[in-house]
Symmetry: D2
Subunit: 349 residues, 4 copies
């Protein structure tokens, strides 16, 4: 059978390394060119010693020539770099961008939160996202050749809250989210606050006050789910773990809902999904159960005292939050079963 | 000079051990009897190998005879046990209870959240709490002989939000709190989810949906601060660290407030406080900076997009969240300067 | 094609869960009965929430009836329980024991270190082990129906040191090993020192002074490698991580060896092995690179000042150290390619 | 009473911050000038947010003018910088160097392991070190004005092994040490392998093969203890914790020793020491018990099978391993009781 040949640009970072990990485990994909910026020339065995299947590969330069001639290219570049690389690739090559560049459909949202020119938007790669009226995120992905992989926080938050918004059991106008992320979400970046000595044993917030760049992407998704404008108070925090996001999301319950009708909205939304699991009543997501996997766990409760619904989701920021989603989108664009190569368990304990 | 002789009941747990750590470092206090339940007879050097100054002590039974004859007794017992022990002590002995038993002034709140009979309420030991009209938590502590030490979450959340409620810059009716706690907050309890293998690398929520026992205590404090009923959506999460609480708290901004007026409310509230520090603009609390100390860091921001104020506090759940607060209350009841023995730095990195 | 049907006895512990994780990812294996002792009746989704593919399974009792009728049975039982279970299974069923019960060929060694009756010995499942005269561990595995999976420490230590002993470049009579293990090596056991609050941020030794039960097993392997009696000073330590073993092993260099001849011994030993990787000169094993995988990394250096060779190996105690090895042995006994279902990368960062 | 005014040079790193933490807690010391290199001009509240007592201080340049006029100066500089700074200070000022520059008495050892010119040697600040013939490390410290603070690994290893060497119960010629250190031992250095994402959940060795710079210092101390040349095979490892060293040390038992005579040697050596604690038989050091403190725990066992003694010590690399030792030396040079300001407990859990 024909194997898809897939190149990875920006392979030396955490996202790029994770894309390679998933490609190596995919039965229909062959890893093609593997490129980097400043790390071009380095051996993959040095940069990613956990990728034993690619230990002898050398990182090439990220150029159109090197990336050309593949069935698909996955971009794992710093934001602002994807457009130039993508524009040099043939239109019939599938390009999956793990960066933020093509996620936002609203230019002004981009301009407010990012510091590079607006590049436009691509199909948004969150297949499971429930949308108002019964549509799903995957509906826009069939046949496309350009996909924007969602951000890690937007994946967790959107999957946590969209069922309730699409079903009308929570209100769109007062959503509050506090999410904890493992440190790999910040990338392999040499900043003092990311040193192990600083991180271990410590929790800290960042991007507080509605300024984190994932905010407009979360709102875009939730607005699509609700069919009405959603504004989100979003506070991310850095947690002492390498991977994983726990998103704790609350919204006001719609008038007249019950604990059972709330749970039904979530159960129904995901009952046919392979990767999104609404846990049994009383069980709550833990990031350890999803780390290393493309799975998402979700749970919801109605706080009758305050009239708020609390929905919690756990994802692996690098897997379903980035690289697993990229491969899921590759599957969809290639006409493969969506879950091909992605069914592995979480790695726990 | 006369040293205060202080006994500790329930000394084998994490809270009891931390009380001893602070008493050992106190220049005016001498550690008297040290008691336990099931661990009576064990050497402290075995139970708490970090307390070198008490390595040769043996845990005694928790009886009125053993606890009698001290200037003060600190109780660090499972909830429901403090009343019986306290009632056997002389009225002029200072009793500081680290448990929940005497914190709630509303019997129905107790009954809703706890499974033991209501024991009444004592003076509440959160000296820095700003209250409506300019009062402080410490006002009720002078001269008292019975003090209820606040819970760890209520300490963090109340100090984070009370300035805004007392000053009227945030609204009392839609408060949302998500807090992350280190595992010592769960005590030295042998449950599978508290094993290191489960905890490390994982975040998980618990007590979701308004059912955590600290909820009515948080509401009691914030209602006192606001001078109006406050209801709180409170979700605690377990974080992979031994100590520390990071409380991320949001409330709707009052009409007409500005980023500056918000910051002013917090700055003013704590400008004369020794242990509560409003950080410089742009700096946010990290739990590592307060671990091992009686200090609290706080920061606040106005999210103009959503009209919410986000206030964050970091405390050490065992120190300012329990044992440091107990010693601070001992100082107040004994007429010592409030900060005696409590000024130590955080232990970082 | 015929899928192998494999049952797992003792599936509720960490080893059993990891066996299931690997079986789920195996293209030629179907998970059959899944049994437990005290946890029989519980849902796997509750016990191992990371095993999404088995979420709806219920743990059965560990009985001959339940375990019968499979192609193979993997035992992940507390030591002392395997013999009784195995004896009730047909002789032509493959039985792979993750416990210690059948590892030691010397009854007196068993009796000295274990507290249950000696059960005999089975083929020892460390395929890559270099033996004196050019043999390999896998030579004894072809055609067998009963396999003892090595202990986690013995896997790491034996693979680290055997090349030098088999090649005669290190001396057998003064081997010193200090190894650090993640906490899952201690199992899902409710003891205070395994609580997250105790483990995080702490290193501690245990079983010091030659009393750890893996000691005779290490010596058995190294003696087989050397063709001469090897005695090992072995000190295990508990490290603040869920998984992984780092074994730091030293032995006196044989007369006349050079840094290059030492490295050659190791390179040659593993040049055709799929799972054991001698790193490039200057690179040293880290447990993070092998966690979640069946791979082992090894490095060696000659300390010319002291005349000692230092060999270091990193393994995942639950994967190559237990469950991955079990599946590798299943492959060998079933006549499948040894690496089937085992090639996945480490999960890093 | 006259407070000692003490300046700290190199205060922005982890060692410098920890020196300040201990000085702040010292009843007879006042913090004078606080200086840095590249961080001069920064606020201490930003650099060390845990040092609440110095939050408003600004780091000054490290110049003779700024450091002049103090009773003592503590240097916490990168190696190679101390000599120039010290030479500009008056001879009657006490200078305590936390760096390596003045630790080695053998110029050739310095030249072999370090890349800067040899600066000479100062009195070595390990007061508790047992020496052959009954002397102690502190004997050389009385009246001196220049003290070299020991390295963190040498502190742990020397205190672990010296009693046996001084008493002649272990042999000096085949010492093997494997030590695990928390990441703060590497300093606040921006290297990829020190990122939290890399460190958490991982153990790795470094400086393998006798090349770590602390090796000659360890040998110098043990040679002084033994009264005979000691050569040490030393392998350090990086552990996933911010602080703490666990040193696992083995040496061949001398002819005729017993488990009891071995334990006696250690017990006797430290029975009058305040900070070094030989644990009860069967109890082993854990780093968590000493973290944040100036205490050291030690245990020893005789492995009769291999004829080796295993001695283990736990220290906090930043406290007794650096800053606590510096303050202990300050006390000695100032004629204060040696333990002044240093008696605090470990911070556990």
């Amino acid at each position: 059978m024909h194997m898809l040949r897939v190149a990875v640009a920006g392979a030396s970072g955490y996202a790029g390394g994770e894309v390679l990990r998933w490609l190596l485990g995919h039965p229909e994909i062959e890893v093609g060119a593997v490129t980097a910026g400043g790390n071009a020339g380095a051996g993959l065995g040095t940069i990613h010693p956990h990728l034993f299947g690619l230990a002898d590969r050398v990182l090439q330069e990220t150029t159109p020539e090197v990336l050309g001639g593949h069935d698909a290219v996955v971009l794992a570049l710093p934001h602002g770099h994807s457009a130039a690389v993508a524009s040099a690739l043939d239109d019939d090559v599938v390009v999956v961008d793990c960066g933020a560049d093509f996620r936002l459909r609203d230019e002004s949202a981009w301009t407010t939160f990012y510091d590079t020119p607006y590049a436009g938007s691509w199909a948004y790669g969150l297949p499971e996202l429930p949308l108002v009226g019964g549509a799903r995120g995957r509906d826009s992905l069939a046949g496309t050749r350009r996909v924007a992989v969602p951000g890690c926080y937007p994946t967790a938050v959107s999957l946590a809250l969209a069922p309730g918004l699409a079903a009308g059991v929570i209100e769109p106008d007062d959503v509050v989210v506090v999410a904890a992320s493992g440190t790999s979400g910040a990338g392999k970046v040499l900043k003092p606050h990311l040193l192990g000595s600083e991180v271990m044993g410590s929790m800290s917030p960042y991007g507080v006050g509605g300024v984190h760049r994932h905010t407009p992407e979360i709102e875009q998704n939730l607005t699509a789910a609700a069919g009405a404008p959603v504004t989100v108070s979003f506070t991310p925090t850095l947690a002492p773990m390498p991977r994983g996001i726990l998103a704790t999301c609350t919204a006001r319950a719609a008038h007249g809902v019950t604990a059972e009708s709330v749970r039904d909205a979530w159960r129904t939304a995901y009952e046919h999904e392979t990767f999104v699991h609404v846990l049994e009543e009383g069980a709550w997501p833990t990031t350890s159960a999803v780390v290393g996997s493309n799975h998402v766990t979700v749970q919801v409760a109605l706080d009758e005292r305050t009239g708020r619904v609390v929905a919690v989701a756990a994802v692996d920021n690098l897997a379903k939050g980035t690289a697993g989603a990229a491969v899921q989108c590759l599957n969809l664009t290639a006409g493969l079963p969506e879950a091909t190569g992605l069914l592995g368990s979480g790695v726990a304990p």
